[in-house]
Assembly symmetry: C2
């Protein structure tokens, strides 16, 4: 069973984080929701408080198959500055392990120096990113071990993309139909 | 400012509840997330725990402009049996005030006898509903004071529909663009 770590910090975008957790768990991928700070209760950008499973401390690249960052500017800014998150991104990347980010969060990958050449993100965030390979058309972009996506309206599609990658086409199709998400490719 | 009550109970569908709360708050609609039981921490169908703003007790139809029910079978079953929720639905309806439900939750409206003739819901849930006017094609159906929608993949569109109703076309368009939700009508 694949294990995906989703770090959350104050100001995370709630539709993105929750859509990703929900969909991966529906596909029986193990999701660890980890608070970047000490408090397990973490408030999102729109005032929704969710309870993390644990804190980040003690999680290493050996424990997980993917690190997946939700967006939201407040949360992304914390993820881009937090040593634990930044070091884990670098360590995952040095081992060629999967890294994903949506919306503003590709900025946190760029800060760690792990963003792939071909990527997408929330429109305008590309201006803050050094990498030049911004793709404005695709909802999800995969380049090597890095998977990026655009924003709240593409979060379900990113979740389904990761389901297809880890659990295969059949489960992807079943879940896409079950979610009524025919707008995803 | 419109005030929307979103009651949540164990087993609520997380993408639906969170997308609706998130989008209405982005549009500066006041959202009250109320736990149907005593605990403010309420666990969704996919193990995501969110923290409600308050409990249901004490909320009357005078306090709110709309009651909006997220789906998920476990949560819906509780909403369909809970006296406070059922009485509030009846009271809202008798005053012609707005009622909305998504996914499995139109079943809870049907139990309260407030479901409109024309409605939609999660496919197959219509079999458990007495009303005959099931619409399988539209993501959002409005009939009188009752607005229904289909499931996780239509939650963003339902949120935007309610934004248009209360805040107007301009804010609807801006938010639809901001969410990257061009799949909504």
């Amino acid at each position: 069973m694949a294990i995906v770590l989703i770090p959350i910090a104050t100001g995370f975008e709630e539709i993105e984080a929750v859509s990703l957790i929900d969909i991966l768990r529906r596909a029986e991928i193990k999701v660890i929701v980890a608070s970047v700070k000490e408090n397990l209760q973490v408030q999102g950008a729109n005032g929704i408080m969710i309870v993390a499973d644990r804190v980040m401390d003690g999680i290493t690249s050996n424990d997980i198959d993917m690190i997946l960052l939700p967006g939201g500017w407040g949360g992304t800014d914390i993820l881009a500055k937090d040593d634990k998150v930044q070091n884990l991104l670098k360590d995952m990347n040095s081992k060629g392990k999967d890294i994903s980010a949506i919306c503003a969060a590709p900025y946190a990958l760029d800060k760690a120096g792990v963003l792939a050449n071909n990527f997408t993100c929330y429109p305008s965030v590309e201006d803050k990113i050094d990498s030049n390979g911004y793709n404005s058309t695709d909802k999800v972009v995969e380049d090597g071990n890095i998977i990026t996506s655009q924003g709240p309206g593409t979060a379900i599609c990113l979740g389904l993309y990761i389901v297809k990658k880890y659990q295969g086409e059949e489960q992807y199709q079943a879940l896409k139909e079950g979610l009524l998400a025919n707008f995803c490719k």
